[in-house]
């Protein structure tokens, strides 16, 4: 039996407020550190812009990750290029660090013809095959069992792939959490379960979700280790996930990593968290903002000056503005695409429906757009 670490103290790779950090104290080379920081900034900048675009009515819906950039980018940095990610809808930072072009991300928000998913899903429900970032769905938890299956498949093929799957604290209550972790334990699958415990599931705090003292402790029920890590410390997350990946790759089986973090923003563009949680709680977590924190670390280590930082933010915002422009100029989604990809080949009944629609649109001389607001 693998050793259970659930009782371990929350890991911290870098002590906070260490008066002065040297670059040698940091566990990664400078280029990596800066790339990590840049991804975090880009994620935050995109979130800010995404919420604006939604408020302006340019996109219909948006899910911000604000506050969870360390958990996402830190874990992404630990992966190898061949590893697969089974994400939730709150995983944009992972995709960004993995190198998806900003236009591809933004095209998904618009769902026009530039969208790789052909406008089939709501914003933030990405599919990026090129980076093994598996298609996101809304039902909570479903990716968890799938990640285990992919991991088993890779081992069967003797491929050195480890699957990672992200989910929230709310998802730990789902059917798939139980089925997935149980499968992984029994089959010792090379998979890492990363719970981004952001303390809230829409309006429900963690204590509504489980009476377990920690989420990491749940691993014990499945016979493998659970690790709790400060999810706002990007290097601690990187380290914890890397250890888990390494063990999985070496045949040591799965790990549940609980990244303790906070959803600093609303659940989505449709949510108003003021209705259900205290400002003071939010403020206390703002003081632990993972980007501020990492910037201080980099600053202290002499890797990032204030000027560098400013440039970096500007570049990030510029990249996004540019991508928005490109996407907004993209053509609308052709109506016929509605019928594609249901099956590998279009069966007759769908071809018939497509044809009828085509005739109808011709007759009515074009299409009109509906309206409607999304409640969550």
């Amino acid at each position: 039996m693998t050793q259970t670490k659930t009782k371990a103290k929350t890991n911290r790779a870098v002590k906070e407020k260490k008066p002065s950090i040297k670059i040698d104290d940091l566990p990664l080379p400078k280029a990596d550190l800066l790339r990590i920081y840049r991804s975090m900034v880009l994620t935050r900048a995109l979130d800010e812009r995404g919420m604006m675009l939604q408020r302006q009515g340019r996109i219909g819906f948006f899910v911000p990750c604000i506050g969870q950039e360390a958990a996402q980018v830190g874990s992404a940095h630990a992966l190898t290029a061949r590893d697969w990610i089974f994400p939730s809808y709150r995983n944009t930072g992972t995709a960004i660090h993995r190198g998806v072009p900003m236009t591809e991300i933004i095209a998904n928000l618009y769902g026009n013809s530039l969208d790789l998913s052909k406008g089939r899903q709501m914003p933030n429900h990405f599919s990026f095959k090129s980076i093994h970032f598996v298609s996101i769905s809304s039902p909570i938890g479903t990716q968890i069992t799938q990640a285990v299956g992919a991991a088993m498949a890779a081992r069967y093929r003797k491929e050195n792939m480890v699957a990672i799957t992200d989910f929230g604290d709310g998802a730990t209550s789902s059917n798939d959490f139980h089925a997935g972790l149980n499968f992984a334990g029994v089959f010792k699958a090379p998979v890492v379960f990363l719970c981004q415990n952001n303390q809230w599931a829409i309006s429900q705090p963690l204590c509504d979700q489980t009476a377990s003292p920690t989420i990491a402790a749940k691993a014990e029920a499945y016979g493998f280790p659970g690790v709790r890590v400060d999810g706002n410390d990007v290097l601690a997350v990187w380290q914890a996930v890397k250890e888990a990946l390494d063990r999985a790759r070496a045949g040591g089986g799965p790990t549940l990593v609980e990244a303790v973090t906070y959803r600093m923003g609303p659940h989505s563009s449709s949510d108003n968290p003021k209705a259900y949680r205290k400002d003071a709680e939010v403020e206390s977590w703002k003081a632990k903002d993972p980007i501020d924190r990492f910037r201080r670390t980099l600053g202290d280590a002499g890797i990032l000056s204030e000027a560098d930082d400013k440039t970096l933010w500007e570049a990030a915002r510029q990249e996004i503005v540019q991508a928005v422009k490109t996407v907004e100029a993209g053509p609308a989604l052709p109506v016929e695409t509605l019928f594609e990809d249901v099956y590998v080949a279009m069966p007759k009944h769908l071809a018939e429906q497509q044809q009828a629609l085509r005739r109808e649109i011709e007759e009515r001389g074009g299409i009109r757009h509906g309206d409607g607001a999304f409640p969550l």
Partner: protein, 324 residues
């Protein structure tokens, strides 16, 4: 009589039931503190407390399974599924348990409960916030399946469902939550389960619809009237049990039927209505039985407005059966 929308009618219906019957408890995700993501349970937690308006862990399986236990024990639980699209983790509890307790125990145990869920498209919610899966439940003996299209029916059917002894799937057309407005009596009343509503009388074509497709059909009927086609619009309200008499009598009168629903066409509940007519009223038919439905694809995001049946598609079907 106060005027309110369908969402408010659900809200007052729940409040009324909770005030008059302490067996009624609500449970679901975000229904307490937040009053539901649409607001259907707004204010109820404050009035009735966390013991009766229960914010649960994120597991539909747990919500429905525990509600069944409450119902067996004598309460009248009203679980909420946040969106009908998220009901599937509870599907086993619904079809294997809730629907079957009375039958399999020879009537010893029963599950009087009302499982509420916002259903249907029209809010730009993409696949996972727009489905209309009434056909799954309608094909499951033991379940009553209701879907009001007006505030009046929402409150009255909810009252019937809560006072009844059968397990009910209560579908709320989310597109009409705010769009459907009407007068709703302040006092308690019931709308009978199993009775359709003739929303508009007519002689030439029978339109059968439920939920958000009812106003679409009414509008299409209005447009058809301008062309001299007189449509009857039947709002099922009760999908199971089905008011076959009203449908068959209407078709016997008009000789033409167009069935309209949001769900994918193949295997949708429209097929059952068509089959009913083809079995029992074929001799009256002067044209094929037409169905206007969602396409046989998953519900899309960007092209929602194309996917959902609208007045023009219904109008075209009306013309089709008239000109046959």
């Amino acid at each position: 009589m106060p005027t309110m929308n369908l969402l408010q009618a659900v809200n007052v219906g729940l409040r009324e039931a909770m005030r008059s019957d302490d067996r009624v408890v609500l449970l679901g995700e975000d229904i307490g503190r937040r009053g539901g993501v649409f607001g259907a349970t707004e204010g109820l937690s404050k009035e009735f407390g966390a013991e009766r308006v229960i914010d649960t862990p994120l597991t539909e399986c747990g919500i429905v399974g525990s509600a069944i236990g409450m119902a067996l024990y004598g309460l009248r639980p009203i679980p909420e599924i946040q969106f009908l699209d998220f009901i599937y983790p509870a599907f086993d509890q619904i079809v294997s348990e809730m629907a079957k307790y009375r039958y399999r125990s020879g009537g010893q145990y029963t599950c009087p409960m009302v499982l509420r869920a916002p259903a249907g498209g029209g809010i730009k919610g993409g696949h996972y916030h727009s489905q209309s899966s009434e056909a799954y439940f309608a094909h499951t003996p033991g379940l009553v399946v209701l879907m009001p299209a007006t505030p009046f029916d929402a409150k009255g059917l909810l009252a019937s469902a809560i006072q009844g002894e059968d397990p009910v799937i209560f579908l709320e057309p989310k597109r009409l939550y705010r769009a459907a407005k009407g007068e709703v009596p302040e006092e308690r009343y019931t709308v009978p389960i199993g009775k359709a509503r003739v929303a508009r009388e007519g002689k030439n074509v029978t339109l059968v619809a439920w939920g958000a497709m009812v106003p679409v059909c009414e509008e299409a009927a209005g447009q058809a009237a301008e062309k001299g086609i007189d449509c009857e619009v039947i709002d099922l309200r009760s999908i199971v049990p089905l008011d076959a008499e009203t449908i068959l009598a209407s078709v016997a009168k008009t000789g033409r039927a167009v069935i309209v629903h949001e769900a994918p066409k193949t295997g949708g509940f429209g097929a059952e209505i068509s089959a009913l007519i083809a079995e029992k009223a074929i001799e009256y038919l002067e044209a094929p039985i037409a169905r206007v439905a969602g396409f046989d694809t998953p519900f899309p995001y960007t092209l929602e407005h194309i996917y959902m049946p609208d007045t023009r598609r219904v109008g075209k079907a009306i013309e089709g059966v008239i000109n046959f």
